[in-house]
Symmetry: C2
Subunit: 422 residues, 2 copies
């Protein structure tokens, strides 16, 4: 007998019929002998309805956060009561709690509160009485008794935090996809569902994973070593287990797979300063004003200096490109740099896998595969479990497919993944 | 400077526009130098929407009460956040609380909980900071932290209970009528708005007053001596003050008015047993089984016995008539009564006024006025401040108008009251 926390998002509880589906999954786990805690989001569309009312009332884009959080928290409160009613109707004893009732204590950073402590007492009591416990996701309460919310995707965080507090054996995140894939199946039709992936790989696959799981929840799960499983609300299947490196490997498999998957990001733009006098501190002088303007920088590459001059390239989100370029021009002038230019027509491809740590040759195999397709690499950056390259955006599909094939990630049976509308 | 509790019902907060109207009334009172606490209900239609979801989820007419109360409580929670946002937008510092946040402690009788205690600390602190305090009506919290609701019209009760706990100078109940009238203006177009009325009169005028104020709130206000004022949300005007007998009488007026108003009730039906052997305990033998079946009895009349036989008549709600008749027939047979019959075509008229206590001749003036119109009186029952008669329902309008005129209740300037759709 295990203790399982199950989380269902807004589209999984979007109607009474779908809530019945959720109830059946919870009961199925209960009947398999497990203790079950279910975390749910607001019904699809409800948060938007409440936001609209708030904007109408406050007539500003940012209504007062304390009241907004209390308002939005009603969305999940509605869902937990309905799910509990359905569970009881289907014969399963159940009990529901708001975040404040559990006592999910958070700080007072309304709309992006952080969980500080969870009181697990009432949940444990209910589980001992054989009840399925239903908890409102996304919400907590601060020390003053004000209701807080955890921000976008906060229900995932609630589920993981509850799993950690209860020492759950697994935290199951039900979504509208059936697991984590080696890459986006819309780009590579033979993309394969991964049976397991490590927390680190999942974090590095953010640009794929963010559609499936809130990064914050993955970090949280990693920190507290809560095994996470991503499954489909609508189809049967084992999903993808996200776990610690080396844990729960299938029998007979002695090694981590080399590569877990390929991520890509079309949202970046590239900025370059050419002919910067190469003195100590130039990187800080270039990036300081960018950071001060709260613009996040992703990749940074500096070439070796040539005749006392060097080139410097970095990437930012496309939305920040114009602002970053303006700042960079001023800065370049001040530094006596020769030229500044930028490019928004790029894409970043990343190869991710804990296995690459102990395998030489991953990088060269990657560069070979791209060269074979005639794809020019503009920037390279590496970390322990990731190699990223920037290429022309027109090569996104071609490059991703080439790498998927080169690292033998294609579905072994050559199946093409059916992709639901997103 | 006074402390005023203002309560606005569902139709007064039915849209953002109407909530703005509520905010303006609160700000007006604040600017007049008063401390203001506002109690609001769920937006019109919201409770019905939530009930529909609950019935769909539970697939029973009575969903589990703990979850239902939590579900319904979200309705008022939405309103308090929106009102607070509007108040702040209009420049008035404000703060809102759910019943649980104030700590309106109730028993655990879900859907009809009774208030046991109110913690006034945070409200007092906010008032001292110059804030308008907005509180969710209708809801509380029990000792276990479960959310409870106070039942239909519970927001009135919340307002009065808060006013009592805070020692408020006045509890203002805003409704869609502009006060309490001498009788229903749809029946008597010259009905007059009362400037004041006593708690006792208001209670006896229940059948009129229930459309304006929850009886339970009036009882509560009377018990804790909280002056209540009924006003219109949509029109300016002083409304009707409900207060203790003799308090706050206008200068120059030495006496209570003779009659406060005329109530009527079309919802009763009459049941009669004829020729019951007159022995001690017959009333108990007749009414015992009725009470056991949870049927509420209103008027009871027993005529003096004649040749060892007596007649016995009582009234019940029309909805209970069939059941009551069935029980009565069985009982009459057992008792050897001669005959049983009933009548659903009746109406009860009641003359109400604390002034009648010290004035002889009210009853005879009432009977004369009805006789003058050829109206036959079927039953009479009296209390200290009320005389009720049962007459044929076809005489409802004629009888009410005759009494209204006989007791000089008509509007002195002969105005006809404009009645909004109800």
């Amino acid at each position: 007998m295990a203790l399982i926390v199950q989380k269902f998002g807004g589209s999984s509880v979007g109607s009474i019929e779908r809530i019945e589906n959720v109830a059946r999954k919870a009961i199925q786990s209960r009947e398999a002998g497990h203790d079950v805690v279910v975390v749910v989001s607001a019904m699809k569309g409800e948060t938007d309805r409440l936001l609209k009312l708030a904007h109408e009332a406050a007539q500003t884009a940012s209504p007062r956060p304390r009241e907004l959080d209390l308002l939005l928290s009603t969305g999940e409160t509605v869902t937990i009561t309905l799910l509990t009613m359905v569970l009881e109707r289907l014969g399963a004893p159940a009990r529901c709690y708001t975040g404040a009732q559990v006592r999910i204590l958070t700080d007072s950073a309304f709309s992006k509160a952080r969980i500080q402590d969870i009181d697990d007492e009432i949940i444990r009591e209910d589980l001992q009485l054989g009840r399925i416990v239903v908890v409102a996701g996304f919400q907590g309460v601060d020390e003053n008794g004000s209701i807080t919310t955890l921000g976008r995707g906060g229900s995932d965080t609630t589920a993981v935090a509850l799993a950690a507090a209860l020492g759950a054996d697994e935290c199951q995140i039900y979504t509208d996809v059936d697991g984590v894939y080696t890459t986006d199946p819309r780009v590579v039709p033979t993309a394969r569902r991964l049976d397991r992936i490590t927390f680190e790989e999942m974090l590095e696959l953010a640009s794929l994973g963010s559609k499936v799981l809130q990064i914050r929840a993955v970090e949280f799960a990693g920190k507290y070593r809560v095994p996470l499983r991503v499954l489909s609300s609508f189809e049967e299947g084992p999903g993808t287990l996200i776990t610690m490196e080396g844990e729960n490997m299938p029998q007979g498999s002695m090694e981590e797979p080399l590569i877990a998957g390929i991520a890509f990001n079309r949202d970046e733009a590239k900025l370059t300063v050419i002919g910067v006098p190469d003195k100590p501190g130039i990187a800080a002088r270039i990036l300081g004003p960018i950071a001060k303007a709260n613009i996040e920088v992703d990749m940074i590459v500096q070439n070796i200096s040539n005749e006392g001059m060097t080139d410097f390239t970095f990437t930012v989100h496309k939305n920040e490109y114009e602002r970053a370029m303006e700042i960079l021009r001023d800065q370049a002038k001040e530094m006596g740099a020769r030229e500044v230019f930028g490019d928004t027509g790029i894409v970043k491809l990343s190869l991710v896998g804990v296995g690459m740590r102990s395998h030489a040759g991953v990088a060269s195999r990657m560069f070979d595969a791209l060269a074979d397709e005639g794809i020019n690499i503009q920037m390279i950056s590496t970390s322990e479990i990731k190699i990223s390259v920037v290429i022309d955006e027109k090569y996104l599909e071609l490059g991703t497919r080439a790498l998927h094939k080169a690292f033998e990630l294609d579905d072994e049976e050559g199946r093409t993944v059916r992709v639901e509308g997103n």
